[in-house]
Structure formats: structure tokens, C-alpha cells
């Protein structure tokens, strides 16, 4: 493998370029018209224009990206996260074009992308799954009420094709069921082109804990510990850390074992994340979904293990055996915590805030502070793309030290031209309940007044 095309933009494209450089592999960036001068396009050895600013006319167009790969002489494609990363047809087309796909097999992507199949596979692998119903297509809701009674209230109505919290509604009582199901189906049909829904047990006080796994494609897999990702706002993660505070070691070990078993059973290839929901009241855990990509928060795992997950993805795809990656050789050292900096205005209900970055000063990175970003002072943050402009990851010997370093880094951050959540993050990280490790998915609504 000599040249990799990175089918992405922003911080993840820059971060993949960094690993390629360490491995001595040349890089090709692709960019939309809006991104012609973006950092990722500048950092790569070559850059190819792939169309207008809207992602569906550029970063999501498989034909153009494959042509860019052919024309630039790339022999592999790394998709990053988002865009085409979990599109099995794209993965197939990459392979079909004689290129190496740096990611899981299209079969894995497809199976885990289909929530019902993913659940069934998890169940068969001995992984606990939440009580749930069969699927109900639009206009075919006979038996809905009985299914709901079986799952129990409160429950969630979830779009089968949904994700990231989109197309999820709560139902507290039987009389709300039909209305909520109808509304969710209509939204799902509009958003995903498929109105099919299913019901699932709702966990009142939930923690979102995920396990980083890495499969070798031959039925062997390892885990790289968990990440605590409960601090979210509208299902958008804000803080992530590892190791997870205030959870029994036995539960974490059981989750890791379940995740490895799920990866092994499907001969999973490369980096993946198995998400679990932990019920804080009952002390049990259940499978939520598996993400077949490198995740935004992967640096947290890299900071505590010293591994370069993107380099491992690339080396595995290049056919290296990765003999040094054995479970007993993977150790967690200290604590790492990541904060996502978004261009948004917390005072205006977190309204996205595109615009010019007239000032963008972040503290210097070092062994205990990692900064992943895809923008620089003078850039314009486009309304076409994700509002996340940087990730700050602090490491320390223990959680309190890591939190202290993150807070210091946030305090040293100066951004002007767009609104950001930096002040909000400072209050969040410094909050007594957060410092105490009292993480649950309702943290921000519960402490909203003290955070804004």
C-alpha cells in the first residue's frame, strides 16, 4: 500500500493523514469547492476537487471519489467516519474497482447497519439485548399494542433505519402509542426513506458505555477497554472518557468480553465500537448497536493505550499480521477525557454558528494534551458540514488530573468569529457532579441551569 485516498474532510481527514505520514504512505485528499483551501486538502500530498459544497454533491458521490482514486493512482481508500464510511455498496465498489477498502467487510457493515439483524447476531453471540418488538412497517401495525405491553412502558419507538437519536420517541402509556408510532413512521419515511419502526424498553437512568474492539478478520478479536460517552445533548456526544468512572470492574469486563465475542462471531475486520446501554438503577447492560467505523472519540482510547488505531486499520488492510496486538499486551494507562468543541451558540438553544474563524487560538499540544482539528484561524466554518471544529483530549495519571488538564486547556482556548460551546464545556467539566463521576445520559437536562 503506497497511496491512500481519504474520502472525508475536517479533523478526521487530517488525523488520518498524520497516521499515513508516520507509516510512510502518500495521501490524496478530496475536497468540495467550499473546502478547496481547507486544512485537510493542504496537508495531503495531493488534493482532488470532487464537486460543489453540499455533501450529497461531493463527499457522498461514490463515482467521483472512485474516479479521483483512479486518476491519482491511489491503491486504497480510508473513509473516516460519517459520509460513506458505513455504506456497504460503496465498500463493495471500492473493492470492485481493485482498490483496498480500509474498513470492515461490506457484509459486516450491512449486518450491523440493520438494527434487527445486529440484535439477532448479538443475541446469538450471547450478548444481552434490550427487550424489544418485531418491526412494524407503515400501515401494518396489527399487534402493536400487544407488542408494547410485552416490552413494557415506558418504551421507545425507534426508526429501523434511524441513528444518532434521530427518529426515536418515548411512550409512557398505551393511549399515546398509536399517535407516537404514526408520527415516528412519518418522520422516518421522510428522513430515511423507510418508515419502519420497532419498540424497545426505555432505560430511565442510562449510561452510554461503548467498547472499542479490533478484529483481525479471521475470527480473532481484541478489545481496547471502554469509553464512557453519557454526557450528550440530544444524542450528540460532548464529553468522552476512559476508563469509565463508577462502574464495577466485573461489569466492564463482562461488557468487553461480550463485545469481543460479537466481533469474533462475525469475523469482524478492523476497528469497531460496540455500544451498550447501562441501566444505572438495575446495574445491568444491554447491546445497543455496533458502529463499523473509526469513531470520533477514538483518541481517548489511543491516549490510554498508546495505540494508533488508524495505523492499525491501515496495516491490517495492507495485509500485516499485527502480531503485537494481543489482548494481554494491551494495557490502560491513566485516564483520558475528550471534549468536542462545536460551532454553536449555547445561549440560543445551541443554534449552529457557521461563519469566519477570525480568532482560533488553542493551547499547545503535548504528551498530556492532544488536539485534533481540521480548521485554522482565517478559515470559514461552512453551514454545509458538521459543527464540530476541534477535539481536545487530555490525559493524566488519574481522572481528576485529566479533568484538571482539560479544564486548563479549555480556559486557554480563544475562538472568535463564530459562537462556540467552550464556556459551556468549562462549566460542564468543572461541575461537581461531573467531577464526582455521576455520568448519565440525562446529565445536561438535569443540570442545565448551572451549565448555561
Amino acid at each position: 500500500m503506497k497511496k491512500i485516498l481519504i474520502a472525508n474532510r475536517g479533523e478526521i481527514a487530517c488525523r488520518i493523514i498524520a497516521s499515513c505520514r508516520r507509516l510512510g504512505i502518500a495521501t490524496v485528499a478530496v475536497h468540495s469547492e467550499a473546502d478547496a483551501k481547507a486544512l485537510h486538502a493542504t496537508l495531503a500530498d495531493a488534493a482532488v476537487a470532487i464537486g460543489p459544497a453540499p455533501a450529497r454533491q461531493s463527499y457522498l458521490v461514490a463515482d467521483t471519489i472512485l474516479k479521483a482514486a483512479r486518476d491519482s493512482g491511489a491503491d486504497a481508500i480510508h473513509p473516516g467516519y460519517g459520509f460513506l464510511a458505513e455504506n456497504p455498496d460503496f465498500a463493495r465498489r471500492v473493492t470492485g474497482a481493485g482498490l483496498v477498502w480500509i474498513g470492515p467487510t461490506p457484509e459486516s457493515i450491512e449486518a450491523m447497519g440493520d438494527k434487527e439483524r445486529a440484535r439477532a447476531i448479538a443475541q446469538a453471540a450471547g450478548v444481552p439485548v434490550l427487550a424489544g418488538s418485531r418491526r412494524f412497517a407503515v400501515g401494518a401495525t396489527e399487534g402493536l399494542e400487544a407488542a408494547a405491553q410485552k416490552v413494557g412502558f415506558p418504551l421507545l419507538v425507534k426508526a429501523a433505519a434511524g441513528g444518532g437519536g434521530i427518529g426515536m420517541r418515548r411512550v409512557d402509556a398505551a393511549e399515546q402509542l398509536a399517535g407516537v408510532v404514526e408520527a415516528t413512521q412519518a418522520l422516518a419515511a421522510k428522513s430515511f426513506g423507510d418508515g419502519t419502526i420497532y419498540l424497545e424498553r426505555l432505560v430511565e437512568r442510562a449510561r452510554h458505555i461503548e467498547i472499542q474492539v479490533f478484529g483481525f478478520g479471521d475470527g480473532r478479536a481484541v478489545h481496547m477497554f471502554e469509553r464512557e460517552c453519557s454526557i450528550q445533548r440530544r444524542y450528540q456526544k460532548i464529553l468522552e472518557e476512559s476508563r469509565a468512572p463508577n462502574l464495577p470492574a466485573a461489569m466492564l469486563a463482562a461488557m468487553a468480553e461480550a463485545a469481543v465475542s460479537l466481533a469474533a462471531t462475525q469475523r469482524y475486520r478492523g476497528a469497531g465500537t460496540v455500544e451498550f446501554i447501562v441501566d444505572d438503577d438495575r446495574d445491568d447492560f444491554h447491546f445497543l448497536e455496533m458502529n463499523t467505523r473509526i469513531q470520533v472519540e477514538h483518541p481517548v482510547t489511543e491516549m490510554i493505550t498508546g495505540l494508533d488505531l488508524v495505523a492499525l486499520q491501515i496495516r491490517l488492510a495492507a495485509g500485516e499480521p499485527l502480531a503485537e496486538i494481543r489482548q494481554d499486551a494491551i494495557e490502560a494507562r491513566g485516564h483520558a477525557i475528550e471534549a468536542r468543541i462545536y460551532a454553536e451558540n449555547p445561549a440560543k438553544n445551541f443554534m449552529p454558528s457557521p461563519g469566519p474563524l477570525t480568532l482560533f487560538r488553542l493551547p499547545p499540544a503535548g504528551p498530556s494534551l492532544r488536539i485534533d482539528t481540521g480548521v485554522r484561524e482565517g478559515d470559514s466554518i461552512s453551514f454545509h458540514y458538521d459543527p464540530m471544529i476541534a477535539k481536545m483530549i487530555a490525559h493524566g495519571i488519574d481522572r481528576a488530573t485529566a479533568i484538571g488538564r482539560l479544564l486548563k486547556a479549555l480556559e486557554a482556548t480563544r475562538i472568535e468569529g463564530v459562537s462556540t460551546n467552550v464556556a459551556f464545556l468549562k462549566r460542564l467539566v468543572d461541575h461537581a457532579a461531573f467531577r464526582a463521576g455521576d455520568c448519565f445520559t440525562g446529565f445536561i437536562p438535569a443540570h442545565g441551569a448551572e451549565l448555561l
Binding site: 443554534m351 453551514f383 458540514y385 458538521d386
Partner: protein, 72 residues
């Protein structure tokens, strides 16, 4: 009382929910912009009748501060 509802941020017009002649109440969502993959609803601040609409559903790249809907 006449009201002009302007776009709060640049973005794409994801949904347009009113047309001239529609009666609206304060708080009714008139249109939703798609900005950075997020929905940004724009609501009426006063009761009235929509007298003009200057955006179309699916319109891409509207600027911030442009008058989108007028209510009389």
C-alpha cells in the same frame, strides 16, 4: 402588527410550512433551516396572516438576516 421573520443563520431551507394567506399564531414554526446537519426552526413572534414568502422549500445557501416570511 406587521412582522418580518428573517433567517437567523445561513443554511438550506429544509421545510417551508406556510404560504401567503395562512393564518399563524405567535410561536408557530414558519420554516426550518438545515444548518450544519441540524434543524433550526424559525417561528412567528406575533399572530397574523402571512402576506409574503421569499424562500422556497429546498432552496440552498440562503444568507443570514434575509427576510424570509412577512406577516401582516
Amino acid at each position: 402588527m406587521a412582522e418580518q421573520v428573517s433567517t437567523m443563520t445561513p443554511g438550506n431551507v429544509w421545510k417551508l410550512l406556510v404560504k401567503p394567506g395562512d393564518k399563524v399564531k405567535a410561536g408557530d414554526v414558519l420554516f426550518i433551516l438545515e444548518v450544519m446537519k441540524t434543524e433550526v426552526p424559525h417561528a412567528a413572534e406575533s399572530d397574523g396572516t402571512v402576506t409574503a414568502v421569499h424562500i422556497t422549500e429546498g432552496q440552498e445557501g440562503v444568507d443570514a438576516g434575509m427576510i424570509a416570511v412577512e406577516i401582516g
